[in-house]
């Protein structure tokens, strides 16, 4: 059997073209949706426990009515869409970076298997409550809800460790193993932060549901809303938790967020601003003055929260650049070790997948350039769409192109070092020129231009293979930390 790429040194995967959209946008869109729903489910579970307790201790006569209505919505939306967007996330991550999810599975499959046992508990407890809850005594209802909420929160607990590890692998990089990677430096701040967000989302959704309970008197609704709004109180912790998070992430990531990258800083601003608005409204309107919050306002606040979640996820994804696993795997699915090797061997000679549009290119050099682009750049760039190389570098001179690509990690420190030889740098430089020129039928082939290649090789050496944040020039390739 021809095992094709199964035999190659690098795992080569077939790379799909998403048209004008960057791949990150594909996963980002679904990710935001999924995180929002999942966090709603987690906070919702906790809120339900609270209302069950209010009801069964006689503190709130209408708690139970609200609870049963809210639970149906929770199940209808979060059980199904939450679970399916979760599967969808998995599939999408494979599409965007199979190797990243592969590394995560290799290291953390038992953690994911543990998470799965909690999915099962969540479904069993939730469905038992949905089906028989109205015929069960309070004691059993509370027990089921606690099991449901605990299982939902535990699924956050487990996945949070894996996601946090991507940015701050901590002791795992030094061979500390799964648990060192799991309880990594950003584990606790991000777990607590997400828990606070989950509670806030649940409270805002509750305010909407309570407003739709038509047959309740306004005073009853107001009381229920004020109860639900207690779940907004932990938002006061968001600022310290956010600062804690910022303190533990790598310095360069922190600098992207705090002004180093305009887009990233803007998203931090959006997330913080939206949270501040929600928290401010809650503090002033609800907790202090005990005001009423109507359906429209609640919807608006929830929309703001969605925006904050989206911005937060964007920041989390973006802060890792140029890595998907900090210090271990670059965004383009190459490890630091491999970069050093590919500098000598070239990166695409072993790639078994042909170009889909090979006939488009007038020279073999441009075809090589297209393969290099596909392997090393297409995860963050397009040629003509979002973050297009022709827009970014179309006006540069040949020499500028060659040098900036050869020294990629210093051109912008959120790019990985170039992972090929001088001929490949020249090939992609020519490709960018050719695409910018409108893909003409004829194009010179500069493969034999020894002086140019020597110059590029010198730039490559000068840049070294260390990531851009590191001091330059790096004399030798840094050894990639070996996974335990």
């Amino acid at each position: 059997m021809i095992l094709g790429s199964l035999a190659a040194a690098l795992p080569f995967y077939p790379v799909n073209d998403f048209g004008p959209a960057m791949k990150g946008m594909v996963i980002g869109g679904l990710g935001i949706f999924h995180v929002f729903l999942a966090q709603f489910a987690i906070g919702g579970g906790l809120l339900l426990c609270y209302f069950q307790w209010l009801g069964q201790t006689g503190r709130e006569p209408h708690a139970r009515r609200f609870l049963d209505g809210y639970f149906k919505i929770l199940v209808l939306i979060s059980f199904v869409i939450g679970a399916l967007t979760g599967v969808g996330m998995w599939f999408t991550t494979i599409q965007v970076s199979a190797r990243t999810i592969g590394v995560m599975v290799d290291e953390f499959h038992w953690i994911w298997a543990i998470e799965w046992t909690f999915f099962c508990l969540e479904v069993a407890a939730g469905y038992t409550f949905l089906r028989w809850g109205d015929r069960l005594p309070d004691r059993i209802r509370l027990r089921l809800l606690i099991a449901y909420a605990f299982a939902a929160w535990m699924s956050l607990f487990w996945i949070n460790g894996i996601l946090a590890w991507q940015l701050t692998p901590g002791g795992w990089l030094d061979g500390g193993g799964v648990w060192a990677g799991f309880f990594n430096p950003s584990f606790w701040p991000s777990l607590l932060y997400r828990t606070v967000v989950a509670m806030a989302l649940a409270a805002l959704a509750a305010a909407i549901v309570i407003n739709t309970m038509g047959d309740l008197a306004r005073e009853d609704k107001r009381r229920l809303i004020v109860r639900a709004a207690h779940f907004l109180a932990p938002m006061a912790l968001m600022a310290p938790l956010g600062l804690w998070y910022l303190a533990v992430i790598p310095a360069d990531s922190r600098s992207w967020l705090l002004g180093g990258s305009i887009a990233m800083t803007m998203f931090v601003g959006i997330a913080a601003g939206a949270s501040l608005l929600i928290g401010g409204y809650a503090a002033v309107g609800l907790l202090m003055q005990r005001l009423y919050i109507n359906g429209a306002t609640a919807t608006l606040l929830l929309a703001l929260a969605f925006g904050a979640t989206g911005a937060g996820e964007f920041v989390r994804e973006g802060a890792r650049k140029p890595f998907t696993v900090r210090g271990y795997l670059y965004s383009n699915s190459l490890t630091p070790d491999e970069v050093a090797t590919l500098r000598r061997t070239g990166s695409v000679v072993d790639d078994p997948y042909p170009l889909r549009d090979a006939a488009r290119y007038p020279t073999a050099q441009l075809q090589t350039g297209a393969k290099v682009y596909r392997l090393q750049c297409s995860v963050c760039h397009t040629m003509h769409g979002a973050n297009a190389l022709t827009d970014l570098a179309g006006t540069w001179t040949d020499a500028q192109l060659r040098m900036n690509i050869a020294e990629l990690q210093h051109t912008k420190p959120f790019m990985p070092p170039f992972a090929g030889d001088a001929a490949e740098v020249e090939a992609i430089a020519q490709l960018i020129r050719w695409e910018t020129a409108g893909a003409p039928r004829r194009w010179p082939d500069t493969t034999g231009d020894a002086a140019t290649l020597r110059q590029i090789a010198a730039w490559l050496d000068e840049a070294g293979t260390a990531p851009g944040g590191a001091p330059r020039p790096a004399p030798a390739a840094p050894a990639a930390p070996e996974a335990p």
């Binding site: 290799d106 298997a113 799965w116 508990l121």
Partner: protein
Amino acid sequence: MTFPFGHGTTTGIYLILYVVTLALHVVLLSYVLVGAGWLAVAGLRGRDDDPVSRTFRDWLPFALGAAITAGVAPLLFVQVLYQQRFYTANLLLSHRWMAVVPALIVGFYALYLGKTARAAAWPARRRAAVASLAALCFVFVAWSWTENHLLALRPEVWTSMYAAGRMVHLEAMQAPRLLLWLALAAPVAATVAGWQLAGDAAALRRLRVVALAGQVGALGAGAWLLALLPAAWRAPVEATEGVVWLALVVAGQLAATAGWLWAPRAPRRALALASAGLVVAILAGAVVRELIRWHASSPVPARVAAAGGMPVFLFFFVGNAVVITLLIRGARRHLTG
């Protein structure tokens, strides 16, 4: 090389967990496939208010949620065991593969809609249309999984498929393979529904027709599939090891068939026999299916097999199973007592 430990202990543990969780997934997806199909046919015939239809309608949304949750575990282990094959097939199928998720969402809401009070007031044909939509979505998903599985086993077509930009992989084995899953789903779903309706003789008679028809279909589709296996895939199945597992499949299927033939006379004992037979047949069948892929693949790399966390998993696996049992038992005691 003896399955599952021929590639080392840890690979063996992954394989066992894969096979067992896949079997659970198969039971639940069978219920979903057949239940939706039953509602579609019953609705078309204008008679979808019998106990069997009511039971399916009532339980299908939950069964789908459970089938999806059960699918997550083999999804994890398949990535540990056959990472590069699985991802490559996903990537080659691309958008076509990603269509699985929206199809499931549509299918779920169709099931849910069919269960609402509003749908109960509709003419049966309209309910049939909704159930057919759901059934179609689930057949599409089943087809996608067989397609992905076959493609993952065919590295020799990967590069040409990529070059051509095709997002569909068709081959002769796909039809009998899908038919086999659909046919096998019938006795499985009938047996689960049989337990739900064990006291209802008329319902059991109708389910018996479905179960036995499925057994005949499974025999035909299974024979067809075996006849199409390429030599390299046939070898592990025809080796002693494969024959033993295949014999277990046959024994299980015979027991299940006997159980259903016997069902009208002693429903509970017959259902117990059918259940036991099907459990054996599904597990052994999953092993036969796996032998082919396992023989074509290398062991899980040592670095991966050394990943920590297994004891903690086993702790929560058992612990959460106990908690789930206690919760459900506790609730049921109050309902019946």
